[in-house]
């Protein structure tokens, strides 16, 4: 029998807070982090809203406990801040006391910084400290910088499956624990806003000029966000022997592919349906056991139809309360799965269901509507967290209350 996988520490930074406590406060206050960018050099800075972390890089260096230096990108800094909190939260002072792996997720690596110096880098006539950013062009850079600074020396990996990247990082880490390869894995993702990605999604006509409206009839797209989140995963036997404080269980997960279109899900949500169904099956829970679904809910035309159809097909007329927290944070791409996994844990611990902000009109294709007001004092036992992305990459996680 494979080991159960427990979550024993969490850390995060998003547009609504520099740590888990601040995120919870803003969720409770129903305060969105969406606004306009102060740090990206784009013609859309006053046009397209984003969920930007409210710090310049200089201030992120401080939060990460480092002196400002060349070569550390915003992606790395966000990741470091979340990583330090996660390790502290799990009570890990000596990282190498037991072998621990690190599975990171990233969609464009250090693009946030390299896009500023790229044309200098390719210009033979230019020399300067910008050359230190050459290594940051890929996705492994942020992973290795974080690993080296906090001291991971064992298994490391970086996953990139678009918007489901960090959900897949959590899954991969959990599977390594179940295989008995490691008793502790730290998994999640980091994402910084870039002009590259903003223009990419805008060229797909997928970005809303207003604050995003998931599951609303009038929605016209997503808002991008940035942030980072990591979760410490431990095997049941290790967590118990170590006396770890258990925050919850990663009881089920599933990764499927849509095999429908490079950037769109199937209209009936086949991939989403399968991902949720199989994750629940693994978790051993029935439909009525699901207390809350933190949907992917990007507010793009296609995602919300497809995900909504999948919910209706899977749960019939009894779809559990669901909401998208993207109107709080924006769509943080590679970090989204891990950020929302932490929101799922907070929902369980605090008895909360978050409101789906900016919703006003039911979609004509669906019978269901999201939760629109903050619900408190709810018994939450099992949360499904969805992450669906480009390339048809779907991932669903089931996060469950730890009953002792």
């Amino acid at each position: 029998m494979a080991e159960r996988v427990f979550i024993t520490g969490v850390g995060m930074i998003t547009a609504i807070g520099d740590n888990v406590t601040e995120n919870l406060q803003q969720l409770l206050a129903q305060q969105s982090g969406l606004g306009y960018t102060r740090y990206i050099d784009t013609i859309y800075k006053d046009v397209l809203p984003v969920g930007e972390v409210k710090h310049a890089n200089e201030s992120l260096f401080q939060l990460a406990g480092l002196p400002p230096q060349e070569g550390l990108t915003r992606t790395t800094l966000l990741g470091l801040i979340a990583m330090r909190e996660a390790l502290e939260d799990a009570g890990i002072s000596e990282l190498n006391s037991v072998p621990a792996g690190f599975i990171n997720a990233s969609t464009v690596g250090g693009m946030c910084d390299t896009e500023r110096v790229y044309f200098d880098i390719i210009d033979p006539g230019k020399e300067g400290s910008f050359l230190q950013y050459i290594d940051t062009l890929d996705c492994a850079d942020c992973t290795q910088r974080i690993a080296d600074i906090v001291g991971f020396s064992d298994h490391i990996a970086t996953i990139s499956t678009a918007c489901s990247s960090s959900a897949n990082a959590l899954m991969f880490g959990a599977r390594m624990i179940k295989q008995g390869l490691y008793s502790r894995m730290v998994c999640g993702g980091t994402e910084a806003l870039t002009r590259f990605t903003l223009n990419g999604f805008n060229s797909l006509k997928n970005v809303d000029k207003q604050f995003c409206r998931p599951f609303d009839q009038q929605r016209t797209g997503l808002n991008l966000g940035e942030g980072a989140a990591y979760l410490v995963l431990e095997s049941e036997s290790f967590a118990k022997a170590n006396n770890s404080r258990i925050l919850g269980e990663l009881s089920g997960y599933c990764n499927t592919n849509e095999a429908f279109h490079p950037t769109s899900p199937s209209p009936d949500g086949d991939g989403a349906f399968d991902a949720m169904r199989k994750a629940m099956e693994m978790s051993g829970i029935a439909r009525e056991d699901v207390s809350y679904i933190n949907v992917h809910g990007t507010a793009t035309l296609n995602n919300d139809i497809s995900e909504g159809k999948a919910l209706e097909r899977l749960f019939g007329t009894d779809v559990p309360p669901f909401s998208s927290t993207k109107p709080f944070t924006g769509h943080t791409l590679a970090a989204a799965g891990a950020i929302e996994a932490i929101y799922a844990l907070l929902a369980i611990r605090e008895g909360l269901i978050y409101p789906n902000l900016n919703f006003s009109e039911k979609m004509e294709e669906l019978q269901i509507t999201p939760v629109t007001t903050l619900m408190q004092g709810v018994a939450i036992n099992h949360v499904i967290s969805n992450s669906f992305g480009f390339g048809g990459n779907n991932a669903s996680l089931v996060i469950s209350k730890y009953e002792g």
Partner: protein, 336 residues
Amino acid sequence: MAAISPQPTFEENCFSSPISFSTTNLLPCLEPDYKPFIPANSLRRMSRVLKMGLAASLKCIADSGIKVSGPIVTGTGKGSLQDTEKFLKEIVTYKETALNPTPFIQSTYNSVNGLIALQQKCTAYNNTFVHRGFSFENALLDSMMLLQEGEDHVLTGAFEEITREHFYIKSRIGFWKEEQIDSRELLSHHSPGSVAGEGAAFFMLTNQPTEKSYASITGLKLLYKPATEKLLSALQTFAPAVDAVITGRNGDSRFDHFYDTVEKYFGNTPQIPFKQLCGEYDTASAFGMWLGAHLLRAQELPQAWIGQPIAKPVNRLLLYNHFYGEQHVLIMLERV
């Protein structure tokens, strides 16, 4: 399995061809005719590494004889550089307006995987690792775990391209040799840097041997920035005796000591280098594994390719590779 590489590895009887080489420190792939694999209207839109990845995966599936699609797991250090470069430039050229989304879509690292799944109508598990010299290696680990978890077979691969622009970028931080060399002579040029390469290689991994099996993967170990002692202790537990070592030696004098350590550890065991054939890139170990698996089944490799005759029989092969001293991998391959 199937490979597109700087050698004619995609063609039948590829080993009878003379070794292809370069004198510019950039060893490009011999790209095959894609038309038998990809419809013309799709080909037009696809950038280079997408074509290489998709064609190699499709040929691998055909070679395996397996009809039912299963999980797809890949590794790539850099994804589609051509598309990334194009989109970066178009943002500036067109001042962020009226951009064509295709290069953005194709620049996402999981686009090759998505494309294979789409082409194969494959809705199973799908994952992409993007971690320099651990990209293919983590894909391999993921695939082996999937087989352990009960999957019957997994399509596992790696793909990488080098562009002129990226070649220049990496030359600025010492990736390539300063002096221009004949790639066939790579290993006799002990100086900083190597020769750039590229390639796509795919493998169908099954949990049981089939009559088509080339080799069996019996061990995998990843080491991140190891000290020499850590490498040695991994070798001790991992590979007490082998018939030959497939070595990732690349002529880079800065990091040769790791290969020296392994060579010394195995004493007189033959060392079979492969980077003179494929150049250096994030996922070059996939080409090394392709070569090793071929050797185990055929029990031969042309002397012109590897510079030495093969002492038969070859039953156990260890592949050792590292990427610029940071990501090290040991893969044990055995004859089926």
